[in-house]
Symmetry: C2
Subunit: 192 residues, 2 copies
DNA sequence: GCTCATTATATCAATAGTTATATAGTCATG
DNA sequence: CATGACTATATAACTATTGATATAATGAGC
């Protein structure tokens, strides 16, 4: 259900489905993803339901673009969604499912698995740390955030920068967890 | 795809679909969930495909139970799954999507949202901390884990106890993140 | 004897998400 | 002028998950 509200939220300015996909590939991929094959049908459904309107606009770089903008009903439901309870995800963590059965395999294979997992977390952590470094929290204390900074278009919003910090803290904890696992698997008596 | 392997993995001893659902409600809900309406059809599909066999067994407390046990093919594919790359979940975190648009609402509403979120994390953290306290990591250093402890049936496995620690560390980081958000929203100039 | 909780299996409809494929215009490279 | 990369929209087929409902046996409390 969240995808509907993410699309409505992103249409604070007119955008096409393709534009929205670019945003998913960037800032949003930290907490959501959607394919074009999910975005296009949902946009046209939301138009049929009276949340959006669209215009066809010629493009200088390809076929005509369908640009959506949101209507009053979209605003109303967006506010309702933001006022509702925090949407807690149903945990579905594939690598933990594998971990749950790891006792079945050799100590060597177990450690290989955890090292590969740790490396993935490290990569993501490095990427997000670099990104947050571009938007120091201290900048939000001043009354006038630096309008002249071209990068600060939508990342000017404190709430959005804080979603990046979520990833940084979460990934740091997961790297520590990998180290904890490797440490205790190492202490395990050899015969198991 | 993971659900298939979770079912095959849990059938290291004969169980019914109902039994498996009980396990999801317990230890597994930390990293996966499945409804009976997903478990029953998948079990019968896995039987048709030659991974499982089942027997109908009379119950003293209700209708006949269909007890599944796994076959050789299941073992093979389980090992392949454990030897494959860590299954990284596609991030889909509803409350972060809400957070991303939180700049739209009042400071008071924002803080209310974060306090409710923090309370949920606290609850889960308390639950998992209590659970892990029952299975101290130090017990796994001894060569003979305490067989006489009736609780230590399947939680005797170090890998399974470590999946619980994953939740503890993750939730601790998320509580810290809520505090960070509350702290910085508070420092924000009043006019925004 | 009735109701309710628990045990137990099964199916259906609907929603959500993934993968593959078709179509088409523009632009750069060789 | 053919090929590939990028922009752009759209749909079909499939898999995964959720929510609702039907059925039925047992035991406890009233």
């Amino acid at each position: 259900m969240s995808l509907k509200f993410i699309l409505l939220g992103l249409l604070d300015q007119p955008r096409s489905g393709y534009d929205i996909k670019q945003i998913f590939e960037g800032t949003l991929k930290n907490f959501w993803n959607a394919e074009l094959s999910q975005i296009y049908p949902l946009l046209s459904k939301l138009e049929r339901e009276g949340y959006l309107e669209s215009d066809l606009v010629d493009s200088s770089h390809g076929p005509r673009r369908r640009i959506y903008h949101r209507l009053a009903q979209a605003e109303t439901e967006l506010f309702d969604w933001l006022a509702s309870e925090p949407d807690m995800p149903v945990a579905r963590i594939g690598y933990l499912a594998q971990m749950f059965f790891m006792e079945k395999v050799s100590p060597k294979q177990r450690c290989g698995f955890l090292h590969r997992l740790r490396e993935r977390f490290e990569q993501q952590h490095r990427f997000l740390s670099g990104l947050t470094a571009q938007y120091p929290l201290e900048d939000f204390e001043q009354n006038t955030p630096s309008q002249d900074d071209p990068q600060a278009s939508s990342e000017r919003y404190l709430a959005r920068v804080l979603t990046m910090h979520h990833g940084v803290l979460r990934l740091k904890a997961l790297i520590d967890w990998c180290d904890l696992c490797l440490c205790w698997f190492d202490r395990l008596p050899k015969n198991s």
